[in-house]
């Protein structure tokens, strides 16, 4: 599915679909054309990753919403005469919690999922370099990349835990 997105994008040529920036036209550095080039080159790979990983989150969220809408406090929110939007927000705030908890796991999958996207788009990301290094038997680079990935996953887990404590007061007590 990632491939389909990637290749359709290639055909339409709305956005550049290869490399991290236009290596011929711009000079790397803090100048506007370079930034523009980087951003426009990132759009397709990013959109692919987002579209590919969104479905799972939507499903989890839908299931959680179904469960949460049955809770008493949502009924009370409706009984309080709050407008429909607020009622849904009451439920959504609570339905979000398991999704955030799942996010920690999803992050590692996302980092991993990039490899294919980066190869399809020839995007010079960490996954691309990992694959490149493997092909060239550059094992010290492979090890380095794994350290970086591990650090990113750890940092993301920490961040998710912090965010979870912020949005769920019940998690605050345990600490």
């Amino acid at each position: 599915m990632v491939l389909i997105f990637g290749q359709t994008g290639t055909m339409l040529k709305w956005f550049p679909s290869l490399f991290g920036y236009d290596i011929y036209a711009v000079t790397p550095g803090p100048n506007l054309p370079y930034i523009e080039s980087v951003v426009s080159h990132a759009i397709l790979p990013a959109a692919t990753v987002i579209l590919g990983s969104m479905a799972g989150f939507i499903l989890t969220m839908r299931n959680n919403m179904m469960t949460t809408l049955d809770e008493d406090f949502v009924l009370v929110a409706a009984a309080k005469g709050l407008p429909g939007r607020s009622v849904v927000w009451y439920a959504a705030r609570n339905a979000l919690l398991p999704v955030v908890a799942n996010f920690t796991i999803a992050i590692s999958l996302l980092v991993a999922g990039q490899i294919l996207v980066e190869i399809v788009f020839n995007y010079p990301g960490i996954g691309f370099h990992l694959f490149d290094a493997l092909g060239k038997l550059d094992y010290s680079l492979v090890q380095g990349i794994f350290v970086v990935i591990t650090l990113v996953v750890l940092a993301a887990n920490l961040l998710a835990d912090v965010v979870y404590v912020l949005i769920d007061p019940r998690a605050r007590q345990v600490a």
């Binding site: 299931n63 469960t67 409706a78 009984a79 309080k80 705030r93 590692s108 991993a112 399809v120 019940r170």
Partner: protein
């Protein structure tokens, strides 16, 4: 409270044959037969057949080069005459034709044959990897969950380590390190399984942890069953839906992983040595490597992509089915939408607005000034009927109920669990959720705001628009539910939940005023104002219920519906809360609809009591009359369930049998199978509520009609002191029940 499914399915012996026995263990995976699941199964079946016979029905060998038709060549730019290089030709693939249904690749191989042959290896790897991963995760997850202690710690650690390692890079590294991996799809499947089992293992461990403390597992343990037998017989069958769901999910991710590995060229190409197997990823790799996309040779790369998407859809649809099985709420939502369409309920079910379907049109808002009589009706429910479900499957949870709540009075509504008390009350505010449907009736609210301005005049709540209804909710009619823990939003402070209320209904108040009012309210119910900053979980049960009551009176409503407000509390707290409520009622003067199964509580609290059974009102009488001289056999039974603390000893009788199954009510009076005085007529005809001894009380019972013999227990004399309690009270501001006590 919705209908309690357990009480519905426990049926008195000999009831209808349609009722299935309910086993609390060994839930067998029975998928709902929704179109989704059928389509999913269909897609998977087609893939299964293709995977098995694909090799033989393929018109060509996937590796065969069609020499005869390979005629299209194109000159490679920069070669040929005039360039100094020898002419070099690229082959062009053939577009779809009769000979090649999906055209050919640049190597003149038949794309359709490749696709068919690829399905086998792709599905094989997916299923094998999923099977290995499932076995691994069941073994480790269930063992860790069941054994606990050090084994759990160790196995969980292993699972967490695997979870933390990003799967795909690891997969690629392993696939790259193992040189012969490409040619052995079993090895590929094993590698995929090793990187994907941990997530399922964690889910299963959590589930086992919650299962092992369930009663039936405890029972098995006590009865001396062996550990492995308990795991196999008691625990595993309950995990089947989850295992099945994760098996499908793992299959899909394994297929994905295999395609990625193959796409990256790590699974061995069919041309390499030893040769790998054709698979969808390999097809995509060749297409991608030969510029199939840029050149517009869609027949080469689109079909494998489409097959991946189709397989994903099939697995996902089937997973929906399992999800609905695991989580009945999802199923209820799906079914009710379908059933609603079938039954012609066109209105889109909207949250917090129970749909009303009724023949009789009603007049909406009427500009009638409510009477100045201090005990005039404030809430009149007339002929209200509520169904759960639609069409033939509908359960008639409330049938033709009428009750009148007078200003400043307490009306008790009593009945067993599942008799429809809560349904009746919530239906009046249209708060019931799908699949509830109000099928008949009127709910007239004669509004005369106590303080602030609000709607004046009579409103039919069932005919009112959303905005009108919202203006009445809480501001004029508030609700206190049984469980205050679940009634308060767990993630925001109690103060913020008060704030919400004022912001919506009293928009003119400033933030300071809102806060001051909240503090004042908390003071009223005896909680320190600091608690406004607390979250619901930081308060005790009693405090939470007080907070709920404070919230209920915040806007000085004319009516408060109390739905078993004290059931979840201990007796002492119960007493305090009830006294609190009486005090507040005297101060503010709201009318109360008090729902409970505790008839003795109602007797000292309520002015009038309505008794409900199987969705119908069966007796209405002033509280003391009902208590001292019940006329309905059911009320008599209810009253003799509670031992009195004072007075002469009486035998506890209780009510034989269990609450009726609303799916399958007995003919005639719904109470007749449990009634000791049932007559032949009771089994044939449904009694209606009719007045008895003037207007003071009503009863729906044949024993009091047509000169039938009234048993002595049901013919006790009316208590003298309470005779006047339904007539309008005198000038005294004290509510009548206070006079009576």
């Amino acid at each position: 409270m919705t209908i309690n499914s357990t009480s519905l399915s426990t049926v008195s012996p000999g009831a209808g044959p349609s009722v299935e026995p309910v086993f609390h263990r060994a839930r067998i995976l029975r998928l709902p037969r929704s179109p989704q699941v059928l389509v999913g199964l269909g897609i998977l079946a087609v893939f299964g057949v293709v995977a098995i016979v694909g090799r033989w029905i393929a018109p060509y060998s996937p590796n065969a080069t069609d020499e005869k038709n390979w005629v299209q060549h194109v000159l490679v730019p920069g070669t040929g005459p005039g360039t100094g290089f020898p002419a070099n030709y690229y082959p062009l693939p053939l577009p779809p034709s009769a000979a090649h249904w999906l055209g050919t690749t640049v190597f003149a191989q038949d794309a359709w044959s490749q696709l068919l042959a690829s399905t086998q290896a792709t599905l094989f790897v997916g299923l094998l990897a999923a099977a290995i991963a499932t076995v691994l995760s069941v073994l480790i997850g269930v063992t860790a969950g069941y054994l606990g202690g050090a084994a759990d710690e160790g196995l969980s650690l292993v699972a967490n380590v695997f979870l933390a390692i990003p799967g795909l890079p690891l997969l690629i590294v392993i696939a790259d390190y193992v040189p012969s991996a490409g040619s052995s799809i079993v090895l590929v499947a094993a590698i995929i399984a090793v990187t994907t089992w941990a997530y399922t293992a964690r889910t299963l461990r959590a589930q086992t942890l919650s299962l092992r403390n369930r009663d039936f597992v405890e029972a098995a343990r006590v009865s001396g069953e062996g550990r492995s037998r308990i795991i196999l017989v008691e625990v595993l069958p309950n995990l089947i839906p989850i295992v099945a769901a994760s098996f499908l999910f793992t299959t899909l991710s394994a297929v994905g992983a295999y395609i990625v590995i193959a796409f990256l060229g790590l699974a061995g190409a069919p041309t390499s040595s030893p040769p790998g197997l054709w698979n969808w990823g390999e097809m995509l790799r060749e297409g991608f490597a030969n510029n199939a996309v840029r050149s517009g040779w869609w027949w080469w790369w689109a079909p494998p992509g489409l097959f991946i998407a189709l397989l994903g859809t099939g697995l996902a649809l089937l997973n929906f089915g399992i999800d609905e099985f695991i989580n009945p709420r999802l199923r209820a939502a799906g079914l009710s939408r379908k059933a609603a369409r079938k039954a012609g309920v066109s209105r889109r079910p909207k949250f917090g607005m129970t749909p009303v379907v009724r023949g009789r049109p009603t007049g909406g808002k009427r500009a009638v000034r409510p009477s100045d009589d201090p005990a005039a009706p404030v809430l009149e429910i007339r002929g209200l009927s509520v169904d759960y479900g639609y069409g033939d499957d509908a359960v008639h949870a409330v049938v033709d109920c009428s009750l009148t709540l007078r200003r400043g009075r307490v009306l008790g509504l009593a009945g067993e669990s599942g008799s429809g008390k809560t349904t009746l009350a919530l239906a009046a505010l249209r708060l019931l959720r799908a699949p509830a449907l109000i099928t008949a009736g009127q709910v007239l609210f004669h509004s005369k705001p106590i303080s602030e301005d609000g709607p004046v005049g009579t409103i039919d709540l069932l005919a009112a628009g959303e905005d009108d209804l919202r203006a009445v909710r809480w501001s004029e009619i508030a609700v206190v539910l049984q469980s205050s823990l679940s009634a308060l939003n767990p993630v925001i402070t109690i103060g913020a939940q008060f704030d919400d209320l004022f912001r919506v209904h009293r928009p003119h108040l400033s933030a300071m005023e809102r806060r001051a009012r909240s503090v004042e309210l908390f003071d009223m119910v005896g909680i320190s104002a600091e608690r406004l900053r607390s979250y619901p979980h930081e308060l005790s049960g009693g405090m939470r219920q007080r907070a709920m009551i404070a919230m209920a009176i915040a806007l000085e409503p004319q009516v408060i519906i109390l739905d078993e407000p004290t059931t979840a509390l201990d007796v002492v707290t119960q007493r305090e809360i009830i006294e609190e409520l009486i005090g507040l009622r005297d101060r503010i003067g709201f009318a109360t609809l008090f729902i409970t199964h505790d008839l003795s509580l109602l007797v000292e609290l309520a002015d009038e009591i309505d008794v409900m059974y199987a969705g119908r009102l069966m007796e209405r009488a002033p509280a003391a009359s009902l208590f001292r001289a019940p006329r309905l056999p059911y009320t008599h039974g209810l009253l003799h369930c509670f031992p009195p603390l004072h007075g002469p000893r009486i035998a506890m009788e209780g009510i034989p049998g269990s609450p009726p199954d609303l799916h399958d009510l007995p003919s005639g009076c719904p109470f007749n199978p449990r009634c000791r005085w049932a007559m032949p007529k009771c089994r044939q005809e449904l009694p209606r509520m009719e007045p008895l001894n003037g207007d003071a009380r009503e009863v729906a019972c044949w024993l009091h009609r047509d000169g039938a013999m009234v048993p002595a227990e049901l013919a006790l004399p009316e208590p003298a002191t309470m005779q006047g309690s339904v007539s309008p009270p005198g000038p005294s501001a004290r509510p009548p029940h206070e006079v009576g006590r």
